[in-house]
């Protein structure tokens, strides 16, 4: 059991948790992830470690409430417990002084890109960060990014804040402006990562993406997280999660991530039903008393 020390919504359905996990805090490196379970019947969910505090023995994760389990987690508050937290898992980001390094985070991907952006800065890069969101209220970690990287660009799809357009357009603009870019890290929805890969491909800019397939154990044992990279099957949990964006089969990744779409609907319905039942039972018992 791991206690939640702090919890805060960063945007609608996006919540940050600071969790007690001293071992993981001491060990984790940028790019690595943990697997959490919310309760004793919970599924195992991989989440990138967004930050850690060695002294306090805590790690930070950011959760987007999409399915049953992530919605349930986002109902947790400080003082509540995760049933299980295991990690750090996966290979750390490869950090070196490339020159100018651009980290791009779309939606909650900004949170996942953040630790690596900081790591790239510490490795001596001139760091540029592009934080993209659908609309202003969904922009996350802007302050943290501004405090830790050299240049920050915000983009929103609806133009409510920052550049009106997609992160790819902002990146293209930097390239067109003649900025010399040596390395790009892109983390976000798969179509976004694929679009970034296609943006940098003609310029031969080294581009890395962090993949988010469905996992069970996270240690290589089940092979559920397999993806195709450079025409070869990889296990994202132990071989990744970061890979050369120009070699990833994004189509396959999108298809595989839809494996449980139907089950997910059932789970959400079941979850709501249970919650309504609970509320209903409570109302009845209160009426009786």
């Amino acid at each position: 059991m791991n206690k939640i020390i702090e919890s805060k919504f960063l945007a609608k359905d996006v919540k940050r948790f600071v969790i007690e996990a001293p071992k993981i805090a001491a060990k984790r490196k940028p790019g690595q992830f943990v697997i959490v379970r919310s309760n004793s019947k919970g599924e195992r969910i991989p989440l990138t470690i967004a930050d850690s505090d060695l002294e306090k023995g805590t790690i930070t994760i950011i959760v987007q409430g999409i399915g049953k389990s992530t919605k349930e987690i986002n109902s947790f508050n400080s003082g509540d417990f995760f049933h299980d937290v295991v990690g750090p898992l996966g290979q750390p980001s490869h950090l070196e002084n490339f020159g100018t390094a651009v980290s791009i985070g779309g939606g909650v991907g900004a949170a996942i890109a953040y630790p690596t952006a900081v790591g790239l800065k510490q490795a001596g890069n001139h760091t540029i960060s592009i934080v993209g969101a659908r609309t202003k209220d969904l922009v996350i970690l802007e302050e943290e990014m501004r405090a830790n990287v050299d240049e920050v660009y915000i983009t929103t799809d609806d133009g409510s804040y920052g550049f009106h357009g997609f992160v790819t357009q902002q990146l293209q603009k930097l390239i067109d402006d003649g900025r010399k870019i040596d390395f790009v890290l892109a983390i976000g929805p798969i179509p976004m990562m694929r679009a970034i890969a296609e943006t940098t491909r003609p310029y031969n800019i080294k581009t890395v993406v962090s993949l988010n397939p469905i996992m069970v154990d996270g240690t290589g044992m089940c092979g559920g997280c397999r993806a195709t990279v450079d025409n070869k099957t990889v296990f994202v949990c132990v071989d990744g999660p970061e890979f050369d964006a120009h070699k990833v089969d994004f189509d396959l990744l999108i298809k595989r991530n839809k494996t449980y779409t139907q089950s997910e609907k059932t789970a959400v319905e079941h979850f709501h039903q249970c919650h309504y039942d609970k509320v209903f039972d409570l109302a009845i018992s209160e009426n009786k008393s």
Partner: protein
């Protein structure tokens, strides 16, 4: 006092069959298939034992259970004493009585088997262990005085648990580290409930806990702590690595990444450990097999476990696809027999060459090739050879690949100076299980490649013996 039966009378008693659930009922539930002997059946079966002066059966047991002696106690109705006798050599008899391949270990050596069917040693072991657990309560062995030494065991499967049991009884402090969130390793995530009820594993683990073994779940050694950190920062005097094989092989044929294609590890873990059969009461889903056609590729026990699981999840057609014939199947005869009884269809001498699917990435079928048997290959089994122009497509909605496991890379990548062979197995001294690193021992599937529960337990016990000697001599 009853006069003991003569040898002739003993030989007249037929081997007592195992009471089991009706095949047509059990293929729809996850309850245990075998129901176990009653005391009467057990005593009768035990009387079949000839009490040979030189019991060959014991030679066949990887942990050297004193089979002749425990069976003699069962024949006399002294079940508690029989349980104690087994426990001298085997810490997990309820597990081994269920999953050991007795027919190729102890029972194949049974002299009765020369003329009649051999004594049902496995069934008797199971009876004694269940009787103890249910009627007498688990009795704990006595541990030696504390030595002040600490042993770290990496992995909580059969090798890890048996090593833990011996080390704690020798007086050492023992911590078992497990990467998953529950203790038991393959006994939990791999072997299905209908063959090994999880409550039985839990009771065995509880007994070890009561003896003082500390269990730490969610600890991925290599990441959470390295082997070196266990020996230095964490202050352990010896480490036993028993992480299992844990990296599933795929067949490397086109279409293998289509939705609906699973490794046996993933399929079984979702159902057994994560309890996907109880979705959505448990959160983890698995492919909805109801009314579907599924094929499992492979001929081992894991393939049988997976296919019988899919049947229980409601599969209409459940196939085993195996490239050799039934004789070459590595699965236990009992498992194959049970599978057939439950309505599993066998596509033998058939090899997959491609998975086919929809534009959206869903599996719809598998392209198969008929095979015939040629000359024996390196494994001594007749080599399957493709028959020309024999291709056909079997329509299936789910596929499970059960062709074995390679070695998990995590320990290798994080432990400098530890010697591995070209397959990624840890190199050990076969007598002491000592690795190339001082104080670091290893056993089970990470050393041998995929094998059986009892062989892993044997390795765990060998290592414990060597660890005791090492710690005795260590300052």
């Amino acid at each position: 006092m009853q006069t003991p039966l003569s040898k002739k009378d003993r030989m007249k008693i037929p081997r007592q069959p195992m009471p089991e659930q009706d095949p047509d009922v059990r293929n729809k539930n996850f309850l245990e298939v075998n129901l176990g002997y009653t005391e009467e059946l057990a005593v009768l079966e035990a009387q079949r034992c000839l009490q040979c002066p030189k019991p060959f059966c014991v030679d066949g047991c990887p942990v050297g259970v004193q089979i002749k002696d425990f069976i003699s106690l069962v024949a006399e109705g002294k079940i508690a004493e029989a349980a104690a006798k087994i426990k001298e050599d085997n810490v997990l008899p309820a597990v081994c009585g269920r999953v050991c391949p007795q027919e190729e270990q102890c029972e194949i050596k049974c002299v009765v088997g020369n003329k009649n069917e051999p004594v049902a040693i496995g069934r008797l072991e199971r009876f004694v262990a269940d009787y103890e657990r249910e009627k007498l309560g688990m009795r704990l062995p006595v541990c030696k005085p504390k030595t002040g030494k600490k042993v770290a065991i990496v992995g909580s499967g059969p090798a890890g648990l048996s090593c833990a049991a011996d080390c704690i009884q020798a007086g050492h402090g023992v911590t078992v580290f497990e990467a998953l969130h529950e203790i038991g390793g393959v006994l939990l995530y791999g072997i299905p409930e209908f063959r090994l009820p999880k409550d039985i594993v839990k009771v065995e683990v509880q007994a070890l806990e009561e003896l003082g073994v500390e269990f730490r779940t969610n600890a991925v050694i290599g990441f959470t702590d390295s082997i070196d950190e266990l020996l230095t920062v964490e202050g352990y005097d010896a480490v036993f690595i028993a992480v299992g094989a844990g990296l599933p092989y795929f067949m490397n044929i086109p279409g293998e990444n289509l939705n609906g294609v699973y490794s046996a590890n993933e399929f079984l873990t979702r159902v057994n450990l994560m309890k996907a059969y109880d979705f959505p009461n448990h959160d983890t889903p698995v492919f909805d097999c109801k009314g579907k056609s599924v094929a499992i590729f492979g001929g081992g026990n894991t393939a049988m476990d997976a296919v019988r699981t899919s049947k229980r999840l409601g599969a209409k057609n459940a196939y085993i696809v195996y490239r050799r014939s039934e004789i070459e199947m590595p699965a236990r005869a009992e498992e194959v027999h049970h599978a057939k009884q439950e309505g599993i269809e066998f596509q033998l001498l058939t090899n997959p060459i491609e998975f086919v699917g929809t534009e959206e990435g869903w599996l719809t079928g598998v392209k198969l090739l008929k095979m015939e048997l040629g000359e024996p290959d390196a494994s001594g089994r007749r080599k399957p050879i493709p028959i020309k122009d024999s291709e056909f497509i079997l329509p299936i909605d789910m596929a499970v690949i059960a062709i074995g496991n390679g070695s998990n890379p995590i320990i290798q990548k994080t432990t400098p100076g530890l010697e591995f062979n070209k397959w990624g197995n840890i190199v050990v001294n076969s007598e002491t299980m000592l690795t190339s690193r001082e104080g670091v021992f290893a056993g089970g599937d990470i050393v041998t490649g995929g094998a059986t529960v009892i062989l892993a337990m044997g390795a765990g016990r060998k290592a414990a013996k060597a660890i005791n000697e090492y710690l005795f001599n260590k300052e």
